[in-house]
């Protein structure tokens, strides 16, 4: 059986197009084809997790069954009681598989865990979000079929964007007026074609053509060189256009299905500071971390009165958030350093913003300073991506081997 990774080649897009035709027609008649959507979900999951990747498919099925049972149990429990430690246990149990998958390669020399599958992180984020909202009482109704559809929504299964259950459910059930759907369809098609430009033109140029050459030269030169600087920018461009392109495919496909999956990027490189950068870069992930880790930690500390200083609390929140994000990317030194780097950057950014507020009249603010802010942020971000790329690690290994 053939196996295809999402949005990787023209054939996959051909399949998606064919699968979407009935959905488009139904939506134009202001109808929802729930049963058909379920069938196409299964078909596309088979395409990506069948064939030579069948073991991932098995892992996915077992994972989803167990996690849905967990959500259901916690939901039933929450209707009757609301004890904190039960909630903590539910969250911990929910993330155990992800933790195992992330730690396994670090312990077993790069080997992937057998319970892992493409996109496990993104499903886990959705699940943890659901459990937290169940605890808050925000999710008032647990619907089995919709939950499964939400978790396995195929356009976003492999790498997000990370949707929220309640938002998804609204779109899933809502019958769109024809005019509104046409607007979405138009946007969806536009996003997919913009994605083509991003991923198959720009990212191809940076990632496939330029990056290997620049990398080769940087390695040959060793140490700090202009080639390394070039690598930093080329890698950053590749990372952005590749991921943003992918996200556009996912969002575009969702829109055509009448579901307004949230956007993942909003011109991140024009951010004037690091804080703003994270409001524009991989937005669904950073908002997830903000809402479910940072905010909760801050509230928790304030409620228990563990720390008085609001600044300290915020900084502790940043450190926790970015450390977890670092570990989530993978248990290697460079991902963790990447997390710490951003935590420090955001703490410094906050300090500066406070300082600026106090001394507003002394600090100039004009077009030049604004441009400089964007320039500085861009370079700091690119440097963090150099850490993130693992290339420094490759260089180190290369150096030692010599």
């Amino acid at each position: 059986m053939i196996n295809m990774q999402p949005y990787q080649n023209p054939t996959y897009f051909l399949f998606i197009t064919l699968a979407l035709i009935p959905i488009i027609i139904a939506n134009l008649y202001e109808k929802k084809l729930h049963w058909y959507q379920s069938i196409s979900t299964v078909a596309f999951l088979l395409l990506s997790f069948g064939g030579i990747k069948w073991h991932q498919g098995i892992a996915l099925i077992i994972y989803v069954v167990l996690e849905v049972i967990l959500i259901k149990i916690y939901y039933e429990y929450r209707k009757r009681a609301n004890v904190s430690w039960i909630f903590y246990i539910a969250v911990i149990v929910a993330i155990i598989p992800l933790v195992i998958v992330k730690i396994t390669p670090a312990v077993y020399g790069g080997k992937a865990s057998i319970i892992g599958f493409l996109g496990i992180s993104y499903i886990t984020f959705k699940i943890v979000g659901m459990i937290m909202e169940i605890r808050d009482g925000a999710i008032k109704e647990f619907k089995l079929r919709q939950t499964v559809e939400f978790l396995l929504f195929f356009p976003t299964i492999s790498s997000g964007p990370i949707d929220r259950y309640r938002r998804f459910l609204g779109d899933y059930d809502k019958k769109l007026p024809q005019k509104k759907y046409l607007d979405m369809l138009e946007k969806g098609v536009w996003y997919i074609f913009l994605g083509f430009v991003y991923k198959f033109f720009i990212a191809y140029f940076f990632g496939t053509i330029l990056l290997p050459q620049v990398g080769q030269n940087a390695l040959a030169h060793g140490g700090i060189s202009w080639w390394l600087v070039a690598y930093m920018y080329v890698y950053s461009m590749d990372l952005f256009f590749d991921f943003a392109g992918y996200s556009l495919f996912a969002v575009g496909t969702s829109y055509i299905m009448g579901i307004a999956t949230p956007m993942n990027f909003n011109k991140p490189f024009s951010a004037p500071n690091i804080k703003e950068f994270w409001n524009r870069w991989h937005m669904t992930l950073s908002f997830w971390f903000r809402d479910y880790i940072y905010m909760r930690l801050v509230f928790f500390i304030m409620k228990k009165k563990l720390i008085k200083s609001k600044i300290t609390i915020a900084n502790l929140g940043y450190l926790t958030l970015f450390l977890i994000m670092g570990f989530w990317h993978g248990v290697t030194w460079y991902y963790i350093v990447y997390g710490l780097f951003h935590a420090c950057a955001i703490i410094i950014c906050d300090m500066w913003l406070r300082f600026k507020k106090k001394h507003r009249d002394q600090i100039p603010s004009n077009r030049f300073t604004k441009m400089f802010a964007v320039f500085l942020t861009f370079n700091i971000v690119c440097f963090s991506f150099l850490i993130f790329s693992g290339f420094l690690n490759t260089m180190l290994v290369h150096h030692i081997m010599k």
Binding site: I2, N3, M4, Q5, Q8, N9, T11, L28, G51, I52, Q178, L182, L185, E186, V189, F193, P212, A220, H221, G222, K402
Partner: protein, 415 residues
């Protein structure tokens, strides 16, 4: 706006674009011809696109271009480089440079699939680098860089359950190139296992072949490295008439003038950029290097097999190593002699008898442009073999291919 009009505005452009592209890529219709000037540029460019492609190579070998297979030494374009000599002295042939830093036997084998039958009963020059013959053969990253999709598809359509094809497929799997099409991956797997392709696979591969051919024709000659001016400049450094004594003097003078900042006779620029930063570390560093046991011998056999199949008459050149440099790095000359014997046996025993063995010339001044790459006087020495071989009539070769050279036993034989 009516629904129909909006739908037309949304999908109209896509449908048009799709129709044009499908018509363009998949139709077997091939109107354009590759021009002389493009061939000339491509022959000198050493571009990966040309190397991996098929259209330009085929067109070139219909003309008087002769493939010069090799690797990084081909880019040492000084005044005595084969391309300069051929042009300056109006030879009946022009070299088509095939290979650059990072290409080895297996990459050459794959790109040869793109010749079709253009090389049948013709001549070729092949420069062997001893440095290829390290234990594991080619670096997978380098292989991936030259991953020749059009050639692989072409080859799959012709592959049979022979020793050669099975070995080629196995190597392909071992080097694990990332082809995003599973049909191709699966087809390679089938050939490696000695099975036939399914009819679906065949139809699919035919369509892909059309598409790749088209891509190759359209894009492989875009932004070629233009070296024609470089060649013209180099020509000016040469005497009007071909005179070996005068040319040797030119080689000597050029070598002398360009190797002033080190005691190894290495080109100044190369020394400054590649060697100087790491030079201290390299002392006696290559003492244990060995080019004797390597999978490269079987990869090389694939190339020989291909030549035999097409009855191509080939001149093999085995370049030396800069002796002063080898003394410094501790590279064993006894090992090089063994390498020499082993490769020569593989060639001779199968009927490849045109061998220019320059191994012992490493002591000559300005023979090498740097550490392991031919230059100035070395190129002139090469010309003493190349010119007669290509311009005079040669008797037809008789090849006897021996599959023994695909075995682990041969790869690991110490000679």
């Amino acid at each position: 706006m009516s629904v129909k009009k909006r739908l037309f505005l949304i999908f109209g452009p896509i449908v048009c674009a799709a129709l044009i592209i499908i018509g363009f890529l998949f139709s077997p219709f091939r109107p354009d011809k590759i021009s002389q000037s493009i061939i000339q540029k491509a022959a000198l460019s050493q571009s990966a696109q040309v190397f991996k492609g098929m259209a330009v190579k085929k067109a070139a070998f219909k003309e008087n271009y002769v493939p010069f297979f090799g690797s990084s030494e081909l880019s040492r374009i000084d005044a005595l480089h084969p391309s300069v000599l051929a042009q300056k002295y109006h030879r009946s042939y022009r070299p088509f440079l095939l290979g650059t830093a990072g290409t080895q036997s297996i990459t050459q084998f794959w790109q040869m699939q793109g010749f079709g039958n253009e090389l049948n009963h013709k001549k070729a020059v092949f420069i062997i680098s001893p440095q290829w013959f390290v234990k594991g053969g080619i670096d997978p990253a380098a292989f991936n860089y030259f991953y020749p999709r059009p050639e692989i598809v072409n080859w799959l359509l012709k592959a049979k359950s022979t020793e050669e094809d099975r070995f080629a497929a196995e190597r392909l799997l071992a080097l694990n190139p990332k082809d995003s099409t599973d049909v191709i991956d699966d087809s390679v797997l089938r050939i490696a296992a000695g099975q036939h392709l399914t009819s679906f696979q065949k139809i699919y591969l035919h369509l892909v072949k059309n598409e790749l051919d088209r891509e190759d024709q359209l894009f492989s000659t875009i932004s070629l490295n233009n070296r024609e001016n470089l060649i013209k400049q180099r020509e000016k450094e040469l005497p009007k008439k071909y005179d070996i004594v005068k040319l040797d003097r030119v080689g000597f003078q050029l070598g002398e003038a360009n190797t002033t900042n080190n005691r190894f006779g290495i080109d100044n620029h190369f020394w400054d950029h590649k060697i100087k930063p790491v030079y201290k570390r390299l002392a006696q560093e290559q003492k244990h290097f060995s080019y004797i046991k390597s999978v490269e011998y079987s990869d090389f056999q694939l190339v020989l097999n291909e030549f035999a199949k097409h009855h191509t008459n080939v001149l093999f050149i085995i370049p030396p190593i800069n002796q002063k440099w080898a003394n410094y790095t501790g590279l064993s000359m006894a090992m090089i002699q063994k390498f020499d014997k082993k490769i020569t046996y593989q060639l001779n025993s199968q009927g490849f008898t045109h061998i220019a063995n320059l191994t012992n010339e490493g002591t000559q001044p300005y023979f090498m442009q740097d550490t392991i790459h031919l230059g100035w006087r070395g190129w002139l020495a090469v010309d003493q073999y190349v010119n007669p071989f290509l311009t005079k009539k040669q008797s037809n070769p008789h090849y006897k291919i021996n599959n023994y050279f695909y075995t682990k036993k041969w790869q690991n034989m110490s000679y």
